[in-house]
C-alpha cells in the first residue's frame, strides 16, 4: 500500500515535469535576440541567429574576407540544402583573444531525431579575426559551416 502511494507520487512527479517542460517551451525564448556587435561572442551569436531566422544576407556579412570565401549565392545554397537550423542550435561560450584573432568555445546542440534519441551536445570552437574593427568568422563547426570554404584559412 505504501509503495502504491509512492508509485502514485512518482507518476504525479512525472506529470509535473511534463507540464513544466511544455510551459517552458511555450513561454521561454531566451537567447533569441540579436546582441550588439563588437565582441567575438556577439558575432558568433548573431551569425547563428541570422541563419536560424533565414536572414542569409546578414549571416553572410559575418564571414571573413579571403581566398575561398563563398559567394553569397553559394552561401545561401549551402544552407538551403543543409538546413542546419531545422535540428541544431549553438551555445556560445567564452572567447580567448590573441591580438587580432579569437577562438570562441561553442557547443553544438543537436535536437533529437526520434523518440529514442535524446539528442546530444558536443563542444567545439569558432575562429574569428578582426577586420577593420569588426569581428569576422573564419571557421565554425558543422552544420553552420561548409568545410569546403576557405581552402586555407584567410590571413
Amino acid at each position: 500500500m505504501k509503495n502504491d502511494r509512492f508509485l502514485f507520487g512518482i507518476l504525479i512527479f512525472i506529470g509535473v515535469l511534463v507540464v513544466t517542460a511544455l510551459v517552458l517551451f511555450a513561454t521561454g525564448r531566451s537567447g533569441q535576440d540579436y546582441v550588439a556587435d563588437g565582441s567575438p561572442e556577439a558575432a558568433v551569436h548573431n551569425y547563428i541567429l541570422a541563419l536560424t531566422r533565414e536572414d542569409y544576407e546578414r549571416a553572410y556579412g559575418y564571414l571573413a574576407a579571403g581566398e575561398g570565401k563563398p559567394s553569397s549565392v553559394e552561401f545561401r545554397t549551402f544552407f538551403i540544402r543543409v538546413d542546419p537550423h531545422q535540428n541544431a542550435g549553438l551555445r556560445v561560450g567564452e572567447a580567448e583573444m590573441i591580438e587580432d584573432e579569437a577562438v570562441v568555445d561553442v557547443t553544438v546542440v543537436q535536437g533529437s531525431s526520434g523518440p529514442f534519441d535524446p539528442g546530444f551536445d558536443h563542444p567545439d570552437t569558432a575562429v574569428l579575426q578582426l577586420e577593420a574593427g569588426e569581428w569576422k568568422i573564419v571557421m565554425m563547426p558543422y552544420p553552420f559551416w561548409d568545410f569546403g570554404w576557405y581552402a586555407e584559412l584567410p590571413r
Binding site: K2, N3, D4, F6, L7, I10, L11, F13, I14, L17, V18, T20, A21, L22, L24, F25, G28, R29, S30, G31, Q32, I48, T52, H85, Q86, N87, A88, G89, L90, R91, V92, G93, E94, D105, T107, V108, V109, Q110, G111, S112, S113, G114, P115, F116, D117, P118, G119, D121
Partner: protein
Amino acid sequence: MRTIRRLYIYLVTAISLEVVLWGVINLLRAMLDTGRVGGGASQLAGALATIIVGLPVFLLHWWLAQRRIDRQPDERGSGVRAIFLYGLLLGLLLPVFQNALAVLNRFLVDLIGLQAEQVMVGFGQTLIDNGIAVLMNAGLAVYILTVLRADWRAGIPDPDGDRPVHSLENLVTVRRVFRYALVAYALGLLVVGVQQLGRFVLEGFGPPNINALAPLANGLSLGVFGAVLWWSAWRTVQESLENEEEGLSLFRQVFLYLLLLVGLGTVLAVSGEIIYATLQVLLGRRVSLSDWMVENTSSLAALLPFAGLWFYFARVVRTDREEIPEAPRRESLWRLYRSILAFVGLIVSFTALQSLGDFIVAYLTGGQGLTGPVARNRLAGSLAALAVGLPLWIRPWLELNTQALAGGEAGERARRSLVRKAYLYLAVFVGVVGVMVSAGGLIFQLLSQVLGEQPPDSGEAIAGMGKNLVLFGLLLVYHWGVLRADGRQSAQALAEKHSLFPVLVLDPGNEAFTGPVVAAIREEAEEIPVAVHFAGGGIPGADLTSAGAVVLPAAMAANPPEALRIWLKEFPGTRIVVPMRSPGWVWVDTDPSSLPKLAKQVAETVRKLAEGEAPEGEARLSPWVIAVGVIAGLIGLSILISAIVNLLRM
C-alpha cells in the same frame, strides 16, 4: 567421442551436399542460359570444380553415416542426426520457397508494368534460374524426407509388439523446432507483405510517385505467398497439439512469448515514431498532411501487421496458459514476459525523464542553443518516449506487484521468483550507482564554487547533477522499498511454513553427528521444530512419526536395526541421509570429511523442504544461466526490433 564423430560426419555431409547441390544448380543455369554473351566458360568451370570437389566428400561421409546406421540401428534416434536431417530439410525448403516467391514477385511487377528493379525478391534472376533451383532443392528435399520417414518408422513399435530400435524423443524435439522455424519464416513474409500493402495504401495520400505501385506488387506477392505458407505451417503446428506433449512443450511457450515480444516491441517502437512526428506538429512544426504522411508511411504501414501479430499470438498464449496444468511453470513464463516488458518500459521511461529533465534544466539556465526546432524536437522526443515507456512499464509492473502482494502459494512464488529479484536488484544497483555518480558530481561542482573556481556553465552543471540525483534517488528508493516489503512478507510466510515442518534427527549415539546437525538447522531456520531421538532406544514414538523429515547418518541408513528399518520404510516424510565417513563404506561424489559442511547442507535441504522447494540433487538451471539467458534475450530482442525499425525506415 561418439558425439564428436557424429558432429563431424553430419556437418561435413551437410556442407558438401550443399556445395554439390549449388554446383549442379549453377551448372544447369550456365547450360540453359542461352541469352548470355561471354563469361560462360568461367561459370561452367566454377560449377564443375565445386561438383568435382564436393561430390566425393559428400559420398564418403554420407556412406559413413549410413554404414553406422546399418551397424547400430539406434543411431537413427541420435540428436545430431535429427538436427542434420531437419536442418538440411529446412535448408532445402527455404530456397524452394524463395525461388517460387521470386517468380511470383517478378510476374506481378511485370504485370503492373513496373521496372524490373522494383522487385523485392529475385532481382536479376530468370524463370529458368528459379525453376532449376526449385526443382533441384525440392528433389533433394523429397530424398531427405524419405530418409526421415525411415528413421521415424524405426522408432515406432510394430504391431507384432517388437520393441522399436530407438527412441523418438530427439526426432520429436527437432521436428518441433523445424515446424516452428517454418512458421517464423512464413510469418516474416506475411508481415512484410502486409506492411508493403499498407505502404501502398498510405502512399496514395502523398504526391504522385512513379514507384507508388511497387509496394502493391511486392506486398501482394509476399503477403499471398506468406499467408498460404503460414496457414499451412501453423495448421500443422496446431494440429500437433492433439499430442499433449506438444502443447506443453517449453519450446512452444518460449517461441510464442518471443513472437509477442517482437510484435509488441515493434508496435511500441513505431508508435513512438508516430507520436514523435505528431508532437512535432502540435509543438509548432509546419508541415503539410501529405508530407507528414510521406515521412511516416513506413511506421504507419508497420503498425497494422505487427499489431495483428501481437493480438493474434496474445490470444494463442492466453489459450495455452489456460491449458498448462502446472501453475508454477505457467506463472514463471508469464512473469518473465511481464518482467521483460516492465524493465524495458522502465529503461525507456527513465531515459525519457532524463532527457526531459535536461530540457528543463537547459531552459531554466538560459536556454542558449535551444533554438525553436531544436527545443521542439528534443521535447517531442522526450514526450514520445515517455508516452511509449510509461504504459509499457506501469501496466505489467502493477500486474506483477498485484501477484506478489497476493497471499498464499502464488504470492509466495511471485515474491521469491528469481526474475523478480533480478529485476529489483538490477533497478536498485542502477539507482545506487546513479546516486553515487550524481552526488559525487554535485559535491564536486559545489566545492569548486566554494573554493572560488567558477567554470563556465557551472549553474547548468549543478542543476543537471541535482536532476540526476533526484531521478536516480527516486529509482533507488522506490525499488528498495518494494524489495524490503517483499522481504518482510516472505519472512512472515516462511516462518509460518517452517513452524509447520518438524524435523527428527536420529542420534546414532554420537554427539559429533547430532550436535552440529541440530545447531545448523536452528541457525538456518530457527522456527523449524527439531527433535532428537536416540536410535539405540527403539523406534521413535507415534508423535515423532508426523515429522516432515528424518535425518540420519548414512551408515545407519545402510544397516539399520530391523525395527528401525521397518519404521523408516513406513515413514511418510522425507529421509535425509548424511554421508558421513564410515569404515568400509565409500560414498561416491560426496565429501564426507567435513561434518560442519555436511550439517549445513542438511540444514539447507531441511529448509527447502519446509518451504516446499525441490531438495538439492534435482536438476535445476543455475541462476547464472537464467540471468545470462535473460540478458542475452534482451540484447537480442533490442537488436531485432531496432533492425526491424531500421528496415522499415529504408
